[in-house]
């Protein structure tokens, strides 16, 4: 693990890797302060930003510089002192580039948490040391697990308010571990005692907790081994666009442009085009810099085939010996995003990879009470922020994988036919 990091550091700044993580917490557990602290102590905040925050802290009458103001971007958020939307933050150390999806943690913001988690590889779950594991902790953990975030950091914050107590920290650790045994997608949980306000164990090692031998939060984020995010086994290439230059030099060129959603493609590979089922061989893999010997997720390229087949946007190129079963029946977990409840037997547009078609809700199996994690079977109306399991019937077959197997080909959104709003996010079971 540590070898991995030192070699990437030696490769230099043009060759950093990237970690996307999400933070969830509610108003009072110090999430914004923690992010402000990470950005501030890693020197990702610039002087003019600091000046601006100092000015507005003074205007608001805050005693100390309010690091939380760094993450509250919109006027109404500043006025109300809350975070409304997912905000993205960036910082880098010589080891890694980080993208933070900063999401508010109230029940009514479940949709934002789901959105932030959809692109994250790691989740930081904040626990107030005084309160321990509460309803909200389980809600955040459930969502991280549902969206298949494999690495979780439980940051036990406000250790200063429990006298830096090792016993209290261990209690919380035990409590969370017991609860987390039900979360099957999470492969690694780390526990860190911190004080975001005072900076203990965020970037610098705490002098107040000599009993803690683990890393600081930043060091953990810099060195945790995440592994390639993508699936590199099951080859999937959703076609976005057909490149036809019509020029003298490239007269017959017909390149299928897309971003590899899974697996590896090489010239000579036997492929099949879904849903038509036509077979072909990969002729070449093109980029503006020249042809490639192979291309894999998440890279973008243009593929040419050895014979002329009718292929367009929404089709998927896969390997002949490893193709998803095209299906019109989609069994999925969804999170509902709209103020307008889901209509039983309602029709929506479904967008899956680059394909768009109609879908009708066939069945609502259950909803999940995200505070208790219990299934609710006697209430089938999905309202804003509800999570549960439904069955859809689509107008055209989809080459869907399970979300567990592939986050790209196992996910979809539902769109309202009339308002064009994105009303739900779905994960294929």
């Amino acid at each position: 693990m540590s070898q991995e990091t030192s070699s990437s550091a030696e490769k230099g700044y043009l060759d950093m890797d990237m970690l996307r993580f999400t933070t969830a917490g509610s108003v009072d557990d110090g999430k914004s302060t923690l992010i402000g602290r990470l950005l501030y102590d890693s020197k990702a905040i610039f002087e003019d930003q600091l000046d601006a925050i100092e000015r507005s802290s003074k205007q608001r009458g805050d005693e100390n510089m309010n690091l939380a103001l760094l993450t509250d971007g919109l006027k109404s958020e500043r006025e109300q002192g809350i975070t409304i939307d997912v905000a993205y933050r960036y910082f880098a150390t010589p080891r890694r580039k980080f993208i933070i999806a900063d999401t508010p943690g109230h029940v009514q913001y479940t949709r934002n948490m789901v959105t932030g988690a959809s692109t994250a590889n790691l989740a930081i779950i904040l626990v107030d040391a005084r309160k321990g594991v509460i309803e909200q902790t389980s809600r955040h953990s459930f969502i991280a697990n549902l969206l298949r975030i494999q690495h979780v950091v439980v940051a036990v914050n406000k250790m200063d308010l429990v006298d830096w107590s090792e016993d209290r920290f261990n209690e919380i650790k035990e409590e969370y571990t017991k609860f987390a045994s039900r979360l099957d997608n999470i492969v690694e949980i780390s526990f860190l005692p911190i004080s975001a306000l005072l900076g203990d164990n965020v970037v610098d090692t705490s002098e107040n907790m000599p009993w803690f031998k683990g890393p600081t939060l930043l060091y953990h984020l810099e060195t945790v081994y995440i592994g390639p995010d993508s699936n590199h086994v099951d080859a999937r290439f959703p076609v976005q666009w057909v490149i036809r230059p019509h020029s003298d030099e490239y007269h017959d060129f017909r390149g299928y442009a897309g971003r590899v959603a899974g697996g590896v493609f090489k010239p000579g590979d036997d492929v099949v085009v879904m849903p038509s089922g036509f077979n072909a061989k990969v002729k070449a893999i093109h980029t503006a810099e020249g042809e490639l010997d192979e291309v894999f997720a998440p890279l973008s390229a243009a593929i040419t085939l050895d014979r002329e087949i009718d292929i367009g946007r929404g089709d998927m190129i896969v390997k002949q010996n490893n193709a998803p079963e095209p299906t019109q029946d989609i069994d999925a977990m969804i999170c509902w995003f709209s103020e307008k409840p889901l209509k039983p037997r309602g029709k929506y547009i479904i967008r899956h990879t680059t394909k768009e078609t109609q879908a009708v809700v066939r069945d609502v199996k259950y909803k999940v009470d995200i505070n208790t994690l219990h299934k609710v079977e006697d209430d089938s109306e999905f309202r804003l922020n509800d999570i549960g399991r439904i069955v859809l019937r689509t107008a055209a077959p989809l080459g869907a994988d399970s979300y567990k197997k592939n986050r790209v080909t196992g996910s979809f959104v539902l769109i309202d036919n009339f308002t064009n709003e994105t009303v739900a996010a779905g994960m294929v079971r």
């Binding site: 700044y13 060759d15 950093m16 890797d17 990237m18 610039f46 002087e47 003019d48 930003q49 601006a52 507005s56 971007g73 919109l74 006027k75 409304i84 939307d85 997912v86 905000a87 993205y88 933050r89 960036y90 580039k97 993208i99 789901v114 959105t115 959809s118 692109t119 390639p228 993508s230 590199h232 976005q240 666009w241 490149i243 230059p245 019509h246 020029s247 030099e249 060129f253 390149g255 442009a257 897309g258 971003r259 980029t287 503006a288 894999f296 997720a297 998440p298 890279l299 973008s300 547009i349 967008r351 680059t354 996910s411 979809f412 959104v413 769109i415 064009n420 709003e421 994105t422 996010a425």
Partner: protein
């Protein structure tokens, strides 16, 4: 087990190319907003790569304030000729002449705000339903909440509290007639990423970005290049200084920084050590705490 790790620049590039192709596929008439600044140069480079060996299926649209550095226009025209691009220019000067907008008066007048109406008119006139921009979320606090596919109503307005959720890599560009989208493929890039990428790709920038000697005046703490559009006022002293620009906009409001970074490597070192944001010396952002949010709501880039 082969090594399938992809470094951060390749990941960002692949994401941007994916967004550019989605834009071409989901919209009828996109246009790529080009300002001559480094972000729009990187955007053009990425669009070239996304559709190679075909030409990019949309024009460049330059909202021209008329206050250009000559170097910017020379660079733009060379690039358009070399890549065989289709260039459209929307002129703020013409909008003023036609009475569509009224020039600001007073000592700190700028054409920044006038770009909004000129842009909206150009989008309407060209019937463009998506405008690709080089905006990044790290630039400014209101931009941090921006989507890749940012929906605008029929008045070009942004409603930050009612944005469509974007999950995984699924982007919803559906809209009613008259509405349109702004699309930001560089959303996840930072200033450092842009510079590193240009180094990685050997992209040559207009000479203004590299340190050079120039006559300047210091106005409200901002170093402005003396030009046709910026003349010293009473009490201001013209000095020769070694400077470069970190961003490129209207010549009357784009501040320079003192620098001797005359190569890409030196610039990257300088960016790494910089303690001010690149927009820190943009007079347009200094007008109020929510200057960017307010302009974006009104239809700004």
């Amino acid at each position: 087990m082969p090594d399938y790790n992809v470094n951060h620049l390749k990941q960002l590039e692949s994401e941007a190319i994916y967004i550019l192709r989605e834009t071409a596929a989901q919209f009828e008439r996109p246009a790529l907003l080009f300002s001559g600044g480094k972000d729009s140069i990187v955007m053009t480079h990425l669009a070239y790569k996304a559709f190679w060996p075909a030409k990019m299926p949309f024009p460049l649209l330059h909202v021209d304030t008329g206050h250009n550095f000559p170097e910017t226009l020379v660079y733009r025209d060379d690039m358009v000729a070399k890549l065989g691009l289709d260039l459209k220019v929307a002129s703020v000067q013409k909008a003023i002449d036609d009475g569509r907008v009224v020039e600001e008066k007073g000592a700190n007048a700028s054409r920044n705000v006038l770009q909004i109406q000129t842009l909206l008119d150009a989008l309407e006139e060209g019937q463009y339903d998506a405008a690709l921009g080089g905006g990044r979320r790290d630039e400014e606090k209101a931009r941090a909440k921006e989507r890749f596919f940012s929906h605008r109503d029929e008045f070009g307005q942004w409603d930050p509290k009612n944005q469509r959720p974007e999950l995984w890599n699924l982007f919803n560009g559906r809209m009613q007639p008259g509405e349109n989208f702004r699309v930001f493929p560089l959303s996840n890039w930072t200033e450092m990423d842009v510079w590193q990428y240009m180094k990685y790709e050997n992209i040559v920038l207009p000479s203004l970005y590299y340190a050079h000697e120039r006559d300047v005046v210091v106005r409200n703490g901002t170093i402005l290049a003396v030009s046709e559009f910026v003349q010293p006022r009473d009490g201001e002293v013209v000095e020769k200084k070694q400077i470069r620009f970190r961003t490129m906009g209207d010549a009357t409001i784009t501040g320079a920084v003192l620098s001797d970074a005359d190569t890409m490597d030196k610039i990257i070192d300088e960016v790494a050590a910089a303690r001010e944001t690149e927009r820190g010396n943009r007079a347009d952002d200094k007008r109020s705490e929510s200057a960017m949010e307010d302009r974006k709501k009104a239809g700004y880039f």
